[in-house]
């Protein structure tokens, strides 16, 4: 396990959604391993260890990024493009979690190499179930390649 213990990067601007998501993670007992950023620019700083996160090691990336698409400053699609086009970060699984059912968003995301696309359901029970399955799959089942070597 990585030292910082950050397993999940949650990129979400809506405080309600952040709170609901963290609630769901809590129920799964993985909330302490979640780092939340509130816009696309901060997400990029965190991922690429710049600005406020300059002291971070890029090799010490999150195990999975949960990415909303509609974000202030830099939108989720742009964040996804940057992550997937940089050799240092392109191995990090990215799961888009968005309200958008727009076909265009889905297609764009997959073209950029998204690993999963989840439409956030209005029904919280379904949302909590989705989060549970996400944590189970990406943190326990998925075997990531060793980064930075």
């Amino acid at each position: 396990m990585i030292e910082s213990g950050v397993e999940i990067l949650l990129v979400e601007d809506n405080p309600n959604d952040v709170r609901l998501a963290l609630h769901a993670f809590e129920e799964q007992k993985i909330a302490n391993q979640v780092h939340v950023v509130r816009d696309g620019a901060e997400a990029l700083e965190y991922i690429f260890c710049t600005g406020a996160y300059a002291e971070r090691e890029i090799t010490n990336g999150p195990r999975v990024i949960l990415l909303d698409l509609k974000l202030p400053l830099v939108d989720g699609i742009e964040v996804l493009r940057r992550v997937k086009s940089d050799p240092r970060t392109q191995m990090i699984p990215v799961v888009v979690m968005t309200s958008s059912r727009e076909e265009r968003d889905i297609v764009d995301s997959y073209k950029l190499g998204v690993n999963s696309y989840i439409v956030k359901p209005v029904d919280f029970d379904q949302f909590a179930e989705a989060v549970r399955q996400l944590g189970f799959y990406w943190l326990l089942l998925n075997q990531p390649p060793v980064i930075g070597k």
């Binding site: 809506n14 609901l20 309200s99 059912r101 919280f124």
Partner: protein, 771 residues
């Protein structure tokens, strides 16, 4: 009598002369010897005369000669008696002799006198000789000519005796019969006669000599000559009897008629061949007529054309072949007369067959004349050209119609003949080029000059192309009329080539398309205007679309987020703080969650509905039965625990966007299942049928609650619901989606229902065909 003679020689009365007078010897002997000498001469002369007369039979005045001889002899005897009187004085004898002499001399005188004039008329001997000589020379020349003629004669000449011995032949004969010169002389004439005729020949020869006159030999029979080499050849022989010193002879003229016979044979063959040919000609009636116009010969073609057999018609007058009215107008006789006068007569007209039917005939009458120009008949050649006549008639009518059509359609025609270089235009075409009728110069360059200079190269290029391809070629060009106005011409033309591929003529039509061009120009303007407006409108629409898209994107994102928050926190309240809430409070929170989730569904449905107008419809062959099968499979949970009778009929394929059509089926089928929920047995019938417009209508029929048809117009509106939400959940968007999808496919959707008895929803996918 005796005493007379005795008295003659009685010398007793007179002395001997010697004794009478005084004769000297010389004188006496002079008388005696002279008288003796005269007697000698006078005896010799008659003898010579007699000899001469006896030998020369042609001596004229023969009795005179004998009288002369007698007279001279008498004189001689007188002198002899005178001499003897010197010794014997028989003066009586002397007297008798003198009397006789006197008689004879007078007889001679009397005989001479009458012949003197005749003797005077006798020519002198020299003249006779000269004449004789001339005659001889003339005779020689004649003989020479005769000989030359005989030898130069183109005929063989043979002279033979009555015994049949050849006495003369000319070189022609020897060459003709193959003998060496002179070889035939002395031979029997039969050597030249073929063996089979030889036995009878001497008899024929003798009968000729019995009645010798110039004639041809063997009249009516074919004569043959026999050559030395044994071959025979046909001859013609003329016989001429000739009287000669050696008796009657025959001069035969022999002509070798082999070539003539051969020529005659060939002519006969040729005539026979010609006759057979004429008789066997089937397409032409070739008929010989006599001078009066009666049929003398009849060929196969005539029989075929006119229906009469030769036996029926030979001898009949040609009037038979004419109609009654023609005969009344004396047409047959007139035609014969004209043919005889002009040497040929040609006519086209109706003629009549044996069965009375008519045909259009081409007739050529030619008179036949002998060498003396005497008319002895006609040859009549007739052809049935009814078909050609009909074809010409049809062609004429067609051309007339074409001309009318061209006039009506204002189509001008032209034909450029490469042989003559003439480019012939119809009057309509000249009018089309603004030219007075008949003023076009009728050449190709003249046309080129009439074409607008900017279009000339292109128009000539098209013409060139017509030459290369030989197919109908089209072109358009402008012409400037003499009044300066510009007119558009459309031309379609083709090059026609002969069998050798050489271009013969370029023919085609021109149509004035000025009005069309103007209309096209107008349309182009309108189109450009329309396009511009469409572009503007499209831009507006696109802008509106973009706004709408942005709007629905926000709705999708921002409208759902608060709902999620409401639901999420309500859920947390219910779970984490359940102990702090009364049952009523929990119930209210649950209603909050239900409404939130219903709101979420509404938003989702609205979004899908609005997406429909943006999603493209790509029609492709769509298997409706497969779509229905998929939908029913996905709706399996809705059927669990219920009795559902499904009847799926035969569903035809149609052209549609499968993903959209699936939404249609999904909505209709889930509705049917939903509204039959309260039935003990739900019956769903799915199928298709041809509706009144001839389109295939698909349908879903159920036995559910149905609805009142007076609200049918509300069925397909967004958020329109005919049932209470407590009874049948839903957002009221499903049928609006169905209608929009169907409309986007160009189809129709409608429903039939009755409350409590069920409903049926129909739709077509393809636009109704206009009939």
């Amino acid at each position: 009598m005796f005493s007379f003679f005795t008295s003659l020689f009685d010398t007793s009365d007179f002395p001997a002369r010697w004794s009478c007078g005084n004769w000297s010897d010389v004188h006496g002997w002079l008388h005696v010897l002279s008288d003796a000498a005269i007697f000698g001469a006078y005896f010799a002369i008659p003898v010579v005369l007699a000899y001469f007369v006896v030998r020369r039979k042609d001596v004229p005045f023969l009795p005179i000669f004998w009288l002369f001889a007698a007279f001279i002899l008498c004189c001689g005897i007188g002198h002899l008696v005178e001499a003897t009187i010197f010794w014997q004085p028989w003066y009586r004898l002397s007297g008798l002799v003198k009397v006789i002499t006197a008689f004879v001399s007078w007889a001679t005188v009397i005989a001479l006198v009458p012949i003197v004039p005749r003797a005077l008329a006798l020519p002198a001997l020299a003249t006779i000789n000269l004449q004789l000589k001339q005659e001889i020379e003339e005779r020689k020349r004649a003989e020479k000519r005769m000989e030359l003629a005989v030898h130069a004669s183109p005929s063989g000449m043979v002279m033979m005796t009555s015994a049949g011995v050849i006495v003369m032949v000319n070189a022609r004969t020897e060459a003709m019969f193959g003998y060496a010169p002179g070889e035939l002389i002395g031979q029997a004439i039969e050597i030249l006669v073929p063996h089979r005729f030889r036995a009878q020949h001497p008899g024929l020869r003798q009968s000729f000599f019995q009645n010798p006159k110039a004639r041809s030999m063997g009249v009516g029979r074919d004569l043959f000559g026999l050559r030395k080499d044994g071959t025979e050849f046909p001859v013609e022989i003329g016989l001429n009897p000739i009287e000669t010193d050696e008796g009657l002879m025959v001069l035969s003229a022999i002509v070798d008629i082999s070539e003539r016979k051969e020529a005659e044979r060939k002519l006969r063959e040729s005539e026979e061949g010609f006759r057979l040919m004429v008789e066997s000609v089937g397409d032409y009636a070739i008929v010989r007529l006599d001078a009066h116009g009666c049929v003398a010969s009849w060929n196969v073609g005539a029989q075929r054309l006119k229906g009469y057999s030769a036996d029926e018609i030979i001898g009949q007058h040609i009037s038979q072949f004419y109609s009654d009215e023609d005969v009344q107008r004396d047409k047959p006789a007139n035609e014969l007369r004209l043919a005889a006068e002009r040497g040929r007569f040609e006519d086209e007209g109706w003629r009549v067959r044996k069965d009375g039917s008519r045909f259009w005939a081409n007739v050529i009458l030619t008179p036949l004349r002998d060498t003396a120009s005497v008319l002895h008949g006609f040859v009549k050649v007739t052809r049935d050209i009814t078909e050609r006549k009909n074809a010409e008639e049809a062609l004429r009518e067609k051309e007339e119609r074409l001309r009318l059509a061209q006039q009506a359609g204002r189509i001008g025609t032209f034909e450029w003949n490469m042989q003559t270089g003439l480019n012939t235009w119809s009057p309509e075409l000249e009018a089309m080029y603004g030219l007075p009728i008949g003023s076009f110069a009728r050449t190709q360059p003249a046309w080129e000059q009439l074409v607008h200079s900017e279009d000339r190269a292109a128009a000539m290029g098209r013409t060139q192309r017509a030459f290369e391809t030989g197919t109908p070629t089209e072109a358009e060009w402008r012409v400037i009329w003499p009044d300066g106005s510009v007119h558009w011409i459309f031309g379609c033309f083709q090059v026609f080539k002969d069998t050798a591929g050489k271009a013969q003529r370029l023919a085609g039509v021109n149509i004035d398309i000025t009005e069309r061009k103007q209309a096209e120009e107008q349309i182009r303007h309108l189109n450009a205007d329309l396009e511009r407006r469409v572009k503007d409108r499209t831009a507006e629409l696109e802008a509106a679309n973009r706004e709408l898209e942005a709007f629905s994107y926000s709705v999708s994102h921002d409208l759902r987020a608060p709902l999620r928050a409401i639901d999420g926190f309500s859920s947390i309240l219910l779970k984490k703080h359940a102990s702090e809430l009364s049952e009523k409070g929990k119930e209210n929170l649950r209603l909050v969650r239900d409404n939130t989730q219903q709101m979420g569904r509404l938003v989702d449905d609205l979004l899908s509905f609005s997406r429909l107008s943006r999603q493209p419809v790509n029609k492709q062959p769509t298997d409706m039965a497969e779509l229905v099968r998929q939908c029913l499979a996905e709706l399996r949970t809705d059927q669990e625990g219920r009795r559902v009778e499904l009847t799926v009929g035969n569903l035809v394929q149609c052209a549609a966007e499968p993903a959209l059509l699936k939404q249609v089926w999904m909505n209709l089928l889930s509705n049917a299942l939903k509204f039959t929920r309260k039935k003990e047995t739900a019956r769903l019938e799915i199928g298709c049928r041809k509706n009144d417009d001839g389109d295939m209508a698909f349908f879903v029929r159920d036995n559910g609650v149905g609805f009142d048809m007076q609200y049918a117009h509300k069925l397909f509106g967004v958020f329109q619901r005919l049932h209470r939400a407590e009874d049948y959940e839903g957002t009221g968007v499903g049928l609006a989606i169905v209608q929009r999808i169907i409309h986007r496919h160009g189809g129709k959707v409608w429903a039939e229902a009755e409350p409590g008895k069920g409903a049926a929803f129909f739709f077509t996918v393809e636009p109704a065909r206009k009939t």
